[in-house]
Amino acid sequence: MPTYRKWFQPYVSPFDPCPPLGPVPYETPAQLYLGFQRPGMPQFSPFQSLSHGTLWPALYTPYTDPYRGKRRPA
């Protein structure tokens, strides 16, 4: 099972003008790993499909703000 969010740490220079924000996130959603979809894969219920935006649990990759709750120390 792949992870759908990765992080990398950019170089922090002692001469940077701003304090470092920490690791930088990037998204790697399900379509990067699925390949050609095979027949007969499990499906969400119709109601769940509508609210998720896809019929297929294998393609469902919800997103949340990775910066949520991240505050710079004042």
């Binding site: 998204e27 379509q31 935006g53 393609l59 919800p62 997103y63």
Partner: protein, 189 residues
């Protein structure tokens, strides 16, 4: 031809009166990776793509118009009850002078929509790779808007639209596999 269904693809709810979000959302309306650009790109490429994948471009291009309508609804809801002063505070003063409260195909920085946003090279692999890139760019744009928005009801609709970009990207990737397929051709390498 098209049949019109008089409802949105997914219900649009906006929880807070924050016209500033309308300025961000307009990127997906008339921006380079927005829903209008997507719809026009795919529906135009249909004619010169191998026939196994014409239907895919037709279906996805049509769905992009349904997304365009959702974005329009969000922008309208966020601006319809704003005073000119509030629009100015939201960074929409120039928009108001030019367009009043009507929507316009422009990006978040106010640049007008242009046909040069849409690529059409006539080479099937090139065009499908362009389409995959367009879906990923639209997905990223939704992420950045969600990061800037603190309205959970609005974000629910944006998350739906982002998930659709993922599904479309998957289907375009499969389209590439279909048109490069060698099976059944009795080719010996």
């Amino acid at each position: 031809m098209w049949y019109y269904e008089k409802k949105l693809q997914y219900p649009v709810r906006v929880g807070t009166c924050n016209p500033k979000l309308a300025k961000f959302l307009i990127e997906q309306y008339g921006g380079s990776d927005g829903e209008l650009a997507a719809a026009l790109r795919y529906l135009n490429q249909r004619y010169t793509i191998p026939d196994q994948v014409i239907g895919l471009l037709n279906d996805i291009g049509t769905e992009e118009f349904a997304h365009l309508e959702m974005i329009a609804t969000m922008v309208y809801k966020l601006t319809k009850d704003a005073t000119p002063e509030e629009l100015k505070e939201a960074g929409l003063g120039a928009h108001y002078v030019n367009h009043g409260k009507s929507l316009f195909y422009e990006n978040a920085a106010g640049a007008n929509f242009t046909a040069s946003y849409i690529a059409s090279k006539g080479d099937p692999i090139t065009d499908l790779y362009e389409d995959i890139a367009a879906e990923e760019k639209a997905r990223a744009t939704y992420q950045w808007i969600i990061n800037l928005s603190d309205d959970p009801m609005l974000n629910d609709g944006l998350n739906f639209l982002r998930q659709r970009e993922i599904v479309h990207s998957q289907r375009f990737r499969e389209a590439v596999e279909i048109i490069k397929e060698e099976q059944g051709k009795k080719k010996i390498f």
